[in-house]
Symmetry: C2
Subunit: 768 residues, 2 copies
């Protein structure tokens, strides 16, 4: 844990400059707009420890797999989010001395991430080696209004001298991923160009051949007046293009350097038009100017907050935490492009490479369903639909046949990138989450059409996988699923993971149910799909039903709990609370075999299943399982506490629910796991949102209606959240002893609160 | 399978040159003397596909670990057998044209490995691009008499022309391991020197700082007469030293180039004396000359064969196969240096890196016990004794305490080198084999003293490991051993592998038994050891006894078999014979998860335990287990068929025993697994020997006496083997219906043949 940030309801604030926190701050203060993003690297040169990171959604590189011992079926490469050409740089030379915070004396340093308006600001006073002092204030944003534009306002005031200021604004194409497997560079620079006032660079990724064009343009004001030089300001070097301008700074007068940036990729432009288009985009931005661009950007953020804000009264840190999570999620994924997805680190770091994990379906979908137009979640579903062929190919690679689809553990373009057999080949429950997201989407939105349009094909591919993956045990006379890794990755290659068996059976059931629905609603489409999928309506259906009816589910009957897997009770049963704190987290202290043979659980596993299918279990059953597994869970995955928190709230244990909530809400801000410097835990941030809305708020969707069961942590005065639901926008405000639901938009709506059906009229509120 | 070698009783013969077989031949025709060895690379330059390999026992490099996903407890490096300075090269230029078999026309090519005399010979006629024809005959050996010496006789006859012959004899220090993890070179060359007639090179390994000094000296004869030139013959280049001599060759007259080589390492010489000593060694060799050196070498091989030959009548291929196995084993390990061990590929390739696996104890010990002085096996035991502290450190690294020793999976110097969690951390049965080798040695030799001198400490460390590794299952009320990989590596992270549980209990029993013996025989030594090991004679003994009495052993009672591990019967029970041959070997066709969840067995597992502890089981029980597991075993480890073959012979199934024998005996000669080009399966060669002696011959040692139960494969006329046993040398000759046992050396001896006790007098024979 590292608590160095100031609590504030709307901002993240760092006061004073401590280089040892800088890499963490670079992650935490990251900016993004769903299309591209950047770590909070300083504009001016910085010779201290930094992780320079600039990313463009969907632009990836296929890095050759690195593995100690090759196994059949491993992919040839790991597709990685790419560190892209760096457009952020403005070198500043003051009377011949380079401004560098690692070298000069720094005072009055304040770094602020304004989440309400979506900008990063940094101000400080630097005293250079010759005693010259400057005050700097740098603000930048990546536009939510125009996804290809960023702008920087970099203001310098000479405090105790007058002298020459030289600004060098550049694009650096000589970029490297720190996590490159073989220390290779992934980009070739195609062209560099610098002309008066502007510069351009075009690069192409090796192997994947994505092209990116970056344009920059600058303006300078001195004491508020436009400053124009007739000097040649162009610089072109190998893999580098920029402009250099010298300005005489008078003591006390502000010089502002504006940098306008356009970042275009071949995903959205013809490669041969990239630079032409970049010129247009950057020129437009330049012409609008910083203030107008910012206003457009700010107003987009206002719309986002309008729909997704959560307020907490009486707990500033909790308030800051939840807003930070929402802010970073919205910076990562905005849902307007079905080719993009939600990387576990978003645009804040390189770790985990590829963009798409089951995190998206299992954790992020509820957040986007409630806080954005349903088209956003639909795009997440369509992303997987478009990759169905690849999932079937992936299944074939592992020996499955006849259209069985195994979605990859990690992917960019639908191909598996992961290479660790116990996960790549065995953590197959991910396939279930992809089906479950379809269910969630349809259940939430009522968009039954999606099933026939796209959903049924995905569901059938997944169900076929399970039908082949389950085998019949002659000994048990039951179907079994052998050799899997469940959500709890502290068990590998186990037999009959309860969660996996559960979701496998559910997938087959749901696929059958959807088939029946499509058949009834649209027989022609049904016939078309059956024919296309070569689906055997007799044989396959009978086989699935047989598995559904005869699956083995491990249980411990005496304790009345579901068993995480066969043989779990053979382990020494020790409680997490009895572990010596010095050996926590276990994954940093124990060898892997010791972790595996212990009873300790990395993240919700049986409880993940109970969370997904809670209607099947009574509260007593949930409580027994919660008590058993929570006491053995070490929550060493960022995805774990939220599910436990929701269930704790469900069984009425609000103290537990609150303490679990805290583990997730400020995970990165307080750097619980000492890894914020690598990037943020973006996908788990959605879990924080779920902890409040589904946990404390008790929100569920049943039969096309919203249900709430509000509760509030002891230490809070009130909290509120908004949900968009089938045309309504509901604002739910929970205080101790009182819940208010506003129907802000849409017709009268029926909701169930604490089990009672209530109606909320248009533009009015319900108090309970 | 690739059958291109000629059957011959004493030689391996390749007729005709096919470059596509060359890399395999380089492995098969390898030479070694236990101290050093070399693949059968051509002396003259060869521009075709080749794997150049020169190795020195014990000289290794610690190559930085390469791994996809790091796990706690992985070692920092993988210690590798090093490709060492190359001393074999003699470039030949004929009238300005380089002799290179990849380029010229080759006829009458014959390559011969004479196993009786231990030399490699190659003769061919080469037609160069200008039509010039030469006949070449090259012979070389690595001396068994002087372990630092090698010699080459390279003879050339110009067949259809007279012209200039230039011989360049060199040492190349610019050497690379093909399997380097990061493509680095492991050697620095310290000095190079060339003087008239001789050249020297000294190198040092990076990080491990082994030094090697190589000296070469040459002589030339023309038509039998010594040829001396007054020209300057010295060449020194970077990392290279040699001599170059030009000789006028007359048509039909033989020019012979003799190269004498000394290879010394800092393991046996002070580093600063390496070159001085190399000069002396190479000078001595030069002075003795090729013929005398060869005679000394040949006579050492005669002694080796005298004790270790196995003859087979009526099956030339089987005869060749078993001799090849014995020959290669004896080339790899001679047992005069307790710092050395038996690498899985010996000196024939780079694969598998480190030198020591459990192969040594489980497979090689019986061979060396019977065919060499008992000091040889004792050295293998002492090797592990000396590494006990490292094994205890290794245990500590994985969280074990109080002197618990876990010997590494792969090692050079006692430290673990392996980095694949399911093996490194979980294939812990290896620890049992190390204890079992002590038992075997003492049982065979009667050297009870070894226990108190070294054995007990090792046995205690190992037993302590098992006592900590076994945990108590509250559910079963039994001890369990969770999360292991058994000998069958087609299962990972299983619970209660029967073999592992079996050998764990046996280790604790045997350690207790040995403690009692030492206590009775030498109480003072016992007290000393107890004190040194801080052994708790009450608590630890009681705990071990509790585990011994209450270990869980999985069984399938209906079938009357021991179960490979918990849950094995949940697998789909398919027989290996029913597999489509197109998907064999499975490890080249199936993804790892499919292999893991199948019932197919890579190598003897339950049967390995039955082999080790056969006296505990009656023949019916062995038969039931054999039938069950043999039908599920795909024998995709070279270490597997021998154990099955021995048990097949034991239960009287000679057809099966013979067919399993064939799988192992000619594994490399016929290249069953298409991997001979990477090097030979040295350690499994000992299994071939066991198949004959313990399998067909039925040899066992019980109560200090030899037992035989001879049987003979249908197709053989006779076979014979020799065993050295407690001062006797017995020659056992088995024919159909008749066994003869000669007592060649030692006093009268009692043997049990087919259950009957018989006596064989000194220098006489017993016929049955």
């Amino acid at each position: 844990m590292n608590k160095y940030l100031k609590a504030d309801e709307w901002c993240i604030v760092e006061e004073g400059f401590d280089p040892k926190n800088h890499r963490s701050s670079e992650s935490i203060f990251s900016l993004g707009n769903g299309r591209m993003g950047q770590r909070a690297n300083f504009e001016e040169r910085y010779s201290g420890a930094t992780l320079q990171g600039t990313y463009i959604g969907g632009v990836y590189y296929t890095d050759k797999t690195r593995v100690g011992w090759w196994k059949n079926g491993y992919p040839e490469y790991f597709a990685k989010v790419l560190n892209a050409p760096y457009w952020n740089g403005i070198d500043v030379e003051i009377d011949g001395i380079q401004l560098d915070l690692a070298v000069c004396e720094v005072s009055d340093f304040v770094r602020t991430l304004n989440m309400r308006e979506g900008y990063l600001e940094r101000s400080f006073v630097a005293t250079l080696s010759n005693g010259n002092q400057v005050k700097v204030c740098a603000r930048r944003f990546i536009s939510m209004a125009d996804k290809e534009v960023a702008a920087i306002r970099y203001a310098v005031i000479p405090l105790n001298f007058s002298g020459e200021m030289v600004f060098t604004s550049y694009i650096d194409g000589d970029i490297k991923n720190q996590d490159a497997n073989y220390d290779e560079k992934f980009w070739d620079v195609i062209s560099t160009d610098s002309q008066k006032g502007e510069a351009y660079l075009q690069s192409v990724t090796k192997k994947t051949a994505f092209q990116v064009g970056v344009g920059i343009k600058y303006a300078v004001t001195v004491d508020g007046q436009a400053y124009v030089t007739s000097d040649d300001d162009t610089i072109v070097r190998e893999k580098y293009a920029g402009n250099r301008v010298s300005v005489y700074g008078e003591q006390g007068k502000e010089i502002v350097f504006y940098k306008y940036v356009a970042v275009l990729s071949s995903m959205n432009h013809p490669a041969d038009k990239l630079l032409d288009n970049a010129k247009v985009v950057v020129k437009n931005a330049f012409q609008k100017g910083f203030a107008q661009l910012f206003e457009e950007h700010r107003s987009e953020w206002a719309k986002i907050w309008e729909h997704s804000d959560i307020t907490i009264e009486g707990d500033v840190e909790a308030q800051q935490g939840i807003r930070f999570n929402i802010f970073q999620l919205k910076q990562t994924y905005t849902g307007d492009d079905a080719r993009l997805n939600i990387g576990p680190k978003g645009f804040t770091g390189e770790k985990y490479g590829g963009s798409t994990y089951w995190d998206t379906e299992a954790y992020c979908v509820p957040f986007y369903l409630s806080t954005a137009d349903s088209a956003v979640t639909r795009n997440l579903l369509v992303y997987r639909y478009k990759q169905l062929d690849r999932a079937i190919e992936n299944g074939m690679k592992l020996g499955f046949t006849d259209g069985a689809a195994l979605y990859p553990m990690v992917t960019m373009n639908g191909e598996e990138c992961h290479n660790e057999w116990e996960i790549t080949f065995e953590e197959i429950h991910r396939n279930g989450a992809i089906a479950y997201a379809i269910y969630r989407y349809v259940n939430y939105t009522g968009d039954e059409k999606y099933i026939e349009e796209h959903g049924l094909e995905v569901l059938t591919g997944i169900a076929r996988f399970w039908a082949q993956r389950a085998t019949f045990s002659g000994e048990r006379k039951k179907y079994v699923i052998l050799g899997v890794t469940g959500p709890n990755e502290y068990e590998n290659n186990v037999n009959n993971n309860w969660y996996t068996n559960k979701i496998a059976v559910w997938c087959m059931k749901y696929a059958l149910e959807c088939m029946e629905k499509v058949k009834a609603a649209n027989p022609a489409r049904f016939e078309e799909l059956i024919a296309r999928m070569k689906f055997d309506c007799q044989g396959e259906v009978a086989h699935w039903k047989d598995i559904i009816a005869n699956m083995h589910f491990p249980e411990e009957k005496q304790l009345g709990i579901f068993l995480q897997q066969d043989g779990y009770m053979d382990k020494e049963q020790i409680l997490a609370a009895d572990l010596d704190p010095a050996i926590r987290p276990l994954n940093q202290h124990w060898s892997w075999d010791r972790i595996l043979r212990s009873c300790f659980i990395k993240q919700a596993d049986v409880l993940q299943g109970i969370y997904f299918f809670e209607d099947e279990f009574d509260t007593e059953c949930i409580k027994r399982n919660f008590d058993f597994y929570e006491s053995r869970c070490v929550h060493e995955s960022s995805l774990s506490p939220c599910v436990h928190s929701i269930l704790a709230a469900k069984i009425g244990d609000m103290d537990k629910a609150y303490s679990l909530y805290l583990r997730t809400a400020r995970l990165d801000l307080d750097d619980y796991n000492k890894e914020a410097h690598e990037g943020l835990h973006i996908t788990s941030m959605a879990g924080t949102w779920m902890s409040i809305v589904e946990g404390f708020g008790g929100m569920r969707v049943k039969g096309g209606e919203l249900h709430f069961h509000p509760a509030i942590p002891e230490s809070w005065k009130a909290y509120s959240f908004k949900v968009m639901f089938r045309g309504n926008i509901l604002n739910v405000i929970v205080r101790h002893g009182k819940t208010v639901i506003f129907n802000e938009a849409g017709e009268e709506v029926e909701v169930t609160v604490n089990g009672e059906k209530r109606r909320v009229a248009k533009n009015s509120k319900l108090e309970i």
